[in-house]
Symmetry: C2
Subunit: 213 residues, 2 copies
DNA sequence: AGGTTAGCATACCCATGGGTATTGGATACT
DNA sequence: AGTATCCAATACCCATGGGTATGCTAACCT
């Protein structure tokens, strides 16, 4: 059964091999961490073997580096794309907050990978360089968005750069807290936390229990 | 030289053996991470061999668990102790902020360990339980401190629990950011970020460039 | 078609380090 | 003192998995 087959099986394009390996690596590193991810598992998850990995990457470290750079670029692109779509200030902020909160709770892979990156950045200079660049770019994107709101007349309790740092770090901190203690840090709580800080920084009095006015 | 010695070398008390191993393990896990820490290195750093480790702990996982619990208790004690010493509200806040900022930049071991704990909590239920408990206790301690300020008449833009969550997560986020990008997140920046958020949440106008009054 | 190359599969190597079994000497007990 | 016990040192085991060398076949060349 399934005996001889008609001729040669077509070969997977190198580009796709690389993409599938990278994608499998992202899942593996996020789920098991760098050390506990096995190259053979990653390769099989992508439908190949270790040979494919060493044919497309220099080794485990290099594969991790490729994952890091790929995600870094993706993150920055997402951020930059989001800046454009701003509507009414209040609504835009509320929507963004909701989106951020949902991504934290519904896409744990992202947070896990971020933690893995951060942990390795602590010890490896190469990783630190890339992660540092990514973080700076993210903060700058946030700062840019904040500046636009400021230009529209929203008062700020701090300059855009500091405001961006605050929002960025608060978001990361909330993400970490959710991962460590999902039960007491849910989507709604994250929304409230971000909303409260933004409201306070924008010198907008906290919502008076019901809709204002 | 150093030839025969007078008789038996006294044996190190078991309590001290355990303490020294634990302390060496803290340093190792913080510096190299769990996976890249070798039991033999830890043992030698403490002045013993692997035998001492397996005599005092169940194995590598158990040693990590012991480190986690020990640090968890220490963190909670520190937090609780700090609550007592509040003087003038404004000064107390400024002092606390300065202390937190300095600890982040001057004691990287703490942040690194926190990251390691968080990363493992993501995948291991046991670790997640302990880390979750620790985090909740920390937030409650902060909430308690916030409540005291609120009782003294400091207005709050959010309830103490949410305020504590915000401050706690912002602190952790800033710590992570400092580790990943020490150059652009220094002590002063951390102080400003924390100060700005506290000022905003307490509905206190931001410092007017120079001393107020 | 025959030959060459490119690229993944397969088989193998071996350093690493967690875990275990055993030993040896100090402490406690009688 | 003699004996039992405790506890860390030592020696050893071996599963693991990153890395490498080789094989094999599809795609490319001419």
């Amino acid at each position: 059964m399934a005996d001889d087959p008609g001729g040669p099986v077509p070969r997977t394009p190198r580009e796709e091999v690389r993409r599938r390996l990278l994608s499998a690596a992202v899942r593996a590193f996020a789920e098991h961490g760098y050390a506990d991810s096995r190259l053979e598992d990653i390769a099989h998850a992508a439908g190949f073997t270790k040979g494919a990995v060493y044919s497309n990457f220099g080794g485990k470290r290099d594969l991790f580096g490729a994952v890091l750079r790929e995600r870094s670029d993706a993150e920055i692109d997402t951020l930059l794309a989001r800046i454009g779509e701003s509507a009414d200030p209040a609504d835009a902020v509320a929507d963004t907050v909701r989106g951020v909160a949902r991504r934290i709770t519904e896409d744990p892979e992202r947070g896990r990978l971020g933690l893995e990156f951060a942990a390795r950045a602590t010890r490896d200079a190469q990783t630190r360089d890339v992660v540092g660049r990514m973080r700076r770019a993210q903060r700058e994107a946030v700062a840019e968005a904040v500046s636009r709101f400021a230009a529209r007349g929203v008062p700020l309790g701090a300059d855009p750069g500091l405001t961006a740092l605050i929002l960025h770090c608060l978001t990361n901190g909330l993400s970490m807290e959710h991962l460590a203690d999902p039960g007491s840090v849910d989507t709604e709580t994250i929304e409230r936390a971000l909303g409260a800080v933004i409201a306070a920084l924008a010198s907008v009095p906290p919502p008076d229990r019901e809709e204002p006015q």
